[in-house]
């Protein structure tokens, strides 16, 4: 009997070891970007549960209704501005910085995670489409959502001598530009705006072969920053984040050349609590909107 049990245990350990080796090698070699995002969301869930136990949460209305911690999903282009908003809010309300945990990813990935139960109380999307998707699934209230920022597009040309405005583009665009980067218009709002602007100027046809698509506006910036692309469309907020030596020439694309990049904020009903409600209200106020404007966005409210 003892012999059979020992044999079973060694067989089970061997099986567990081989499974874990296979799984770990599979994960490390395939789709590391996507898997790391899922691991991050799992880690944030477990750490949230731990913090909750430390608080005196005796309420039975839901996991976090009276807790003072929450997770917030932020579109990656808004990261720098969000950090300033979080700092202002924390100072005002005397919160410890770890009480609001932010996750940054593309709006599509965040929306997909939230629709599968990721514990985010607030979702700051880079567009309206993803937020509307979650509202349609009844994960958030339609009347609660609002436009927290309107994005501005910039054509950044760090190696150029003149401003890459429409006149320069029409005259020199075809022969002077080797590679022009933008975010993927199919799923990135800044990429769509860039494509629309080029079409409005009538330059899309001649520049089409030179276009390079990044997965998001951050990758578009990386292509230009690394020198792989000569110039590219990025967010004005990103351009303001650059060092003065990196900045170089740029053209702020007029808002009438593309449909507005309206970034919508929604609160997820299942995970909202008092602090998240408060932060959500804070984002609509004058002080927060002033910070948003200073970061390079336009305000829809003021």
């Amino acid at each position: 009997m003892v012999f059979i049990r020992a044999h079973a245990i060694s067989w089970l350990t061997g099986l567990a070891r081989s499974v874990s080796t296979y799984v770990s090698s599979y994960i490390s070699q395939r789709a590391s970007t996507i898997v790391s995002l899922f691991v991050f969301s799992i880690l944030s869930t477990t750490s949230l549960a731990k913090d909750n136990d430390q608080q005196n949460n005796t309420n039975n209305n839901g996991p976090l209704t009276n807790g003072s911690d929450f997770n917030i999903a932020v579109a990656s282009n808004f990261k720098a501005c969000y950090e300033k908003l979080a700092e202002a809010y924390s100072q005002q309300h005397n919160l410890a910085p770890q009480q609001i945990k932010a996750s940054y990813a593309s709006s599509g990935q965040l929306a997909a995670m939230i629709s599968r139960g990721a514990p985010f109380a607030i979702f700051l999307s880079a567009d309206q489409k993803r937020a509307q998707q979650l509202i349609q699934r009844d994960l958030a209230d339609a009347q609660n959502g609002f436009i927290y920022a309107v994005g501005q597009l910039v054509l950044w040309a760090p190696k150029l001598e003149q401003k890459p405005g429409p006149a320069w583009l029409k005259e020199h665009g075809t022969h002077a530009i080797k590679r022009l980067s933008l975010a993927n218009p199919k799923h990135a709002p800044y990429g769509l705006a860039a494509e629309q602007s080029l079409k409005q100027l009538g330059l899309y046809g001649e520049l089409q072969d030179k276009l390079v698509f990044g997965q998001n506006v951050a990758q578009s910036l990386q292509f230009v920053a690394s020198g792989a692309a000569d110039m590219g469309f990025i967010a004005y907020a990103q351009w303001l984040e650059l060092d003065s030596e990196q900045r170089g020439q740029y053209w702020l694309v007029p808002a009438d050349l593309h449909s507005a990049i309206q970034q919508q904020a929604i609160e997820i009903k299942a995970w909202a609590n008092n602090t998240s409600n408060d932060f959500f209200r804070f984002l609509k106020q004058k002080q927060a909107q002033q910070i948003v404007r200073n970061c390079g966005y336009l305000s829809d409210i003021y």
């Binding site: 490390s28 080797k178 799923h187 020198g227």
Partner: protein, 227 residues
């Protein structure tokens, strides 16, 4: 629903086939040379060649992008040779895939070559065969399983390549938009039906190719009397 574009599938197949062929051409002599080195030198070069195994693909892609850009030395070498720029081109992808799949081609070859019995080579040398003849007529046939494994592994690994292409591809239609990128694009654009279709296609195709390759490998090995 937009129709599913099959161009990424053909591009992936083209990339995987080209990469695995080129890797075989480079890794067969490299593996044979490595196997004959002293252990310390072998260990050092092995460690270098195994780097793509442990580095995240995005890191490989990131550094390759820097190297291939006009300021990096790969980009400058390319410009000096008068060729089209490497970044965001299919040629750049092939180069990156070769770096990424190098250990998958090299290691099976190394283990196959190290199992070749020296007695056969010495006997052939006694009978007058030179080094090249010994390599072509004795080493390669004996290491046939290893060559097939290297081919299969590097092909399969390149078919599934995502992180590196994401960093240096630029997602250009019919040039660098491979299947894994296309599936990811569809998911990002919330087109889950197309993504599922392409994923199933990729799964079926990969299974087919791998079974065919393993079948032919198995049959030939059986003929030689091994297990």
């Amino acid at each position: 629903m937009h129709a599913v574009d099959l161009q990424p599938l053909y591009l992936s197949i083209k990339l995987a086939a080209l990469t695995s062929m080129l890797l075989l051409v480079i890794c067969i002599p490299l593996a044979w040379w490595l196997v004959q080195q002293k252990p310390t030198r072998q260990a050092l070069i092995n460690a270098l060649c195994a780097l793509p195994l442990v580095l995240p693909p995005t890191v490989i892609g990131f550094y390759l992008l820097l190297l291939m850009s006009p300021g990096g030395w790969l980009g400058q070498l390319n410009a000096a040779l008068g060729l089209e720029p490497l970044s965001f081109s299919f040629r750049g992808l092939v180069l990156a895939s070769m770096v990424y799949s190098l250990p998958f081609a090299l290691q099976p070859l190394q283990s196959a070559f190290s199992q070749v019995n020296k007695a056969y080579l010495e006997a052939a040398a006694c009978m007058g065969a030179n080094a090249v003849q010994r390599f072509i007529y004795i080493v390669l046939p004996l290491a046939r399983n290893g060559i097939y494994s290297a081919l299969i592994l590097s092909f399969a690994h390149t078919m599934g390549e995502f992180g590196v292409v994401l960093m240096i591809g630029g997602n250009i239609d019919s040039e660098t938009r491979v299947l894994s990128i296309a599936i990811y694009d569809h998911v990002e654009a919330l087109e889950y039906t197309q993504a599922a279709l392409l994923s199933t296609l990729m799964l079926v195709f990969s299974l087919l190719i791998l079974s065919l390759l393993y079948l032919s490998n198995g049959r030939k090995a059986h003929k030689m009397g091994s297990l």
